[in-house]
Chain length 395, copies 2
């Protein structure tokens, strides 16, 4: 009854999404306060007040025919120009509206890029652990995602393995910095090394290889670490951004793509991503929220809230004997499972009403992901459960 | 630099969209009041006041974490239930939330259906003239759109040709009722005949053939004609709906799919469309506007406005000698080109600052589409130009 390609997807439905939906059911059964749902990146910090104020003002003052109407598929030109100027102020770039396409979240943007550049059989690389949907996005266009095995001591890219993995078929590398699920940040030296390898390989194979930089967590950094803006290091870079995390608007589906002028044939590539936006059925990023985010480009949700969660969980989990790298960015912690089969540990945690996601969902078995964009109370109240789990596994 | 599949799309970029973008430029050059842009279905009637009031109230009263947050990929359960109940009240159906998936407009919904059911090489039928994007949507999943030639005297489906076109490879028929671009409505007798043909063909080939009913214009009817609700006539029907036209919200990208329980394996199919929504990068329909439309299900934009446009244009054009069927629904008029190559006529109209779309964009050369969802002034002020065009072509 359903398409063959969908069979596998239905049978292996997203574990993250299943957890999220199960969490909602458990909350109904046991009471929301008794379920510690760390399964999904659904921010519990409200959007900045300015989001609401801007939306109310636009609704009062602007022509609804414009506010809710069609605009060019790439988005409102004034919105795109404001995004470009904000990036230029913050990162010393030189973008204009012609480099920016507004998208239905980062997921929509990534699909437009991949539709625009992938031929069947093309390979797309990503460093494990990585956001598992990348594999599905690449498969939508009959590309093949190839993962580079993780260095589980640092969760930094294994550059030697990366260099070996680049072939004549390599069309792109997807980078996620700060990283979901590990919470690490790839420093400038690593970005430079990746760029140098790709420059060499492009030359060697006579191909164009893109870096697709997926950056929904760019503003969520706890340590003062710099997150390099990759277009400055490598010409063939396309940036995908989402306001979901920074402005706590994941349900609104709003983000953008940056297609720099340095890319050869940029105008054609920009046309291609814009047409992809149309024919994939997005048509355009939702209109009102485009206008809203354009006024909130320097806002961000209060991340001190996430920092506090990170500290209380990290300190307690280390104390109980769990192994984990202290996250520098995003709002995830990637914890070593105390038992080899991390799915067993995920099940044991569920007995404690603690919802985690197995690392195998990020191509990194033996670990579990904890998403700490929840309330502080959820973090604190989950600790006795973690303590019992530590005891259970003899940590 | 771009994917091979995209080359053709970039070279044949949507004529409708090009016209729309050109119209915006012409408006800047000549003044908006001197350009008669009938190119795109971008309603010029403001959204009903209740849309604004509901949005303001939700922003004041509801938790922003819920309002702007993730929900199940199929949409907020309460919104889906309200949509189901509204359909049941109006059409005597028996849907529940489990039959409704909220989508990123009808375009997003159609892509989810096609992703869920199309295997490479499958054929999808549509009656010409049809919305040209259907061809691109089907091609996204390596299906093939096959058109059934138009009956240009009535623009009603040619049932004999349809029956011949159904083969063992036929996976679906896309119907658009009321029709874009012709403005005709397919009556109950036609729907019954189509259903009977498909039942026979399913039996003959041992296949399942879907009707995908694309219904953004369902509420835009001027004549009291009934638009049959196809799920009541044919079991394997999936309905795609959009609020773009009814509530004048085309930029907001909000619609829904109906997947009736009568379909064998409905639960698996529903899972498949939901997963398609996720992996194609829509993730979910925009969240706040979901909550808004759920409160506005019995609202519609003031269509007396469109009726007035229809009458003034139809009467004048007929008087000037143009040939055209009087539209019963939607907000399009499909006019016979006074010259065989309708692109020449489109160019001549552009000289008069009148923007029309060639019928070849709807697989029906020799005609042009006029979209009359514009202001009454635009309609009236365009008439002298049409009169000069009629004279030019000796009508």
């Amino acid at each position: 009854m359903i398409a063959k390609k969908m069979e596998g997807l239905v049978n292996n439905n997203s574990v993250i999404r299943q957890m999220f939906e199960e969490g909602k059911k458990m909350a109904q059964e046991f009471g929301a306060e008794n379920v510690y749902d760390f399964s999904i990146g659904n921010p519990n910090v409200p959007a900045p007040e300015k989001v609401k104020q801007t939306m109310m003002r636009l609704l009062e003052e602007e022509d609804p025919v414009v506010l809710h109407g069609y605009m060019p598929n790439a988005g409102f030109p004034d919105v795109r120009e404001k995004v470009a100027q904000s990036l230029n102020r913050r990162f010393g770039t030189a973008f204009t509206a012609d480099n920016i396409m507004m998208t239905v979240g980062a997921a929509g943007g990534l699909n437009c890029v991949l539709k625009a550049i992938i031929n069947p059989g093309d390979e797309v690389l990503s460093f494990a652990p990585y956001f598992v949907e990348y594999r599905n996005y690449v498969a939508n266009y009959d590309g093949v995602l190839k993962e580079i095995a993780p260095d589980t001591s640092t969760f930094q890219p294994d550059l030697e393995a990366f260099e070996k993995a680049v072939t004549a078929k390599t069309r792109a590398l997807i980078i996620n910095n700060p990283n979901n699920p590990s919470g690490v940040i790839y420093p400038e030296s690593t970005i430079k090394a990746i760029a140098a390898i790709l420059e060499r390989k492009q030359e060697e194979y006579g191909t164009e290889i893109f870096i697709i930089s997926d950056e929904p967590y760019r503003e969520l950094v706890y340590t003062g670490a710099e997150v390099p803006y990759i277009t400055k290091y490598y010409r063939n870079t396309i940036v995908g951004y989402s306001f979901s995390k920074t402005l706590s608007l994941p349900g609104e589906r709003i983000g953008y793509l940056v297609v720099p002028s340095e890319i050869e044939g940029q105008d054609k590539l920009f046309q291609a991503v814009t047409i992809a936006n149309r024919v994939l059925g997005f048509v355009n990023a939702p209109s009102l929220i485009q206008k809203v985010v354009a006024e909130c480009l320097e806002e961000k949700a209060d991340i001190s809230f996430y920092a506090k969660n990170r500290d209380v969980l990290y300190d307690a989990l280390k104390e109980y004997g769990f192994e984990c790298i202290k996250p520098e960015g995003a709002f995830y912690m990637f914890i070593k499972s105390p038992t080899e089969d991390e799915k067993e540990f995920v099940s044991a945690a569920k007995e404690e009403h603690i919802l985690l996601v197995p690392g195998s969902s990020f191509a990194c078995g033996g670990f579990v992901r904890l998403s700490y964009c929840v309330s502080y109370e959820t973090c604190v109240n989950s600790l006795p459960g973690f303590k019992r789990l530590a005891a259970k596994y003899g940590l």
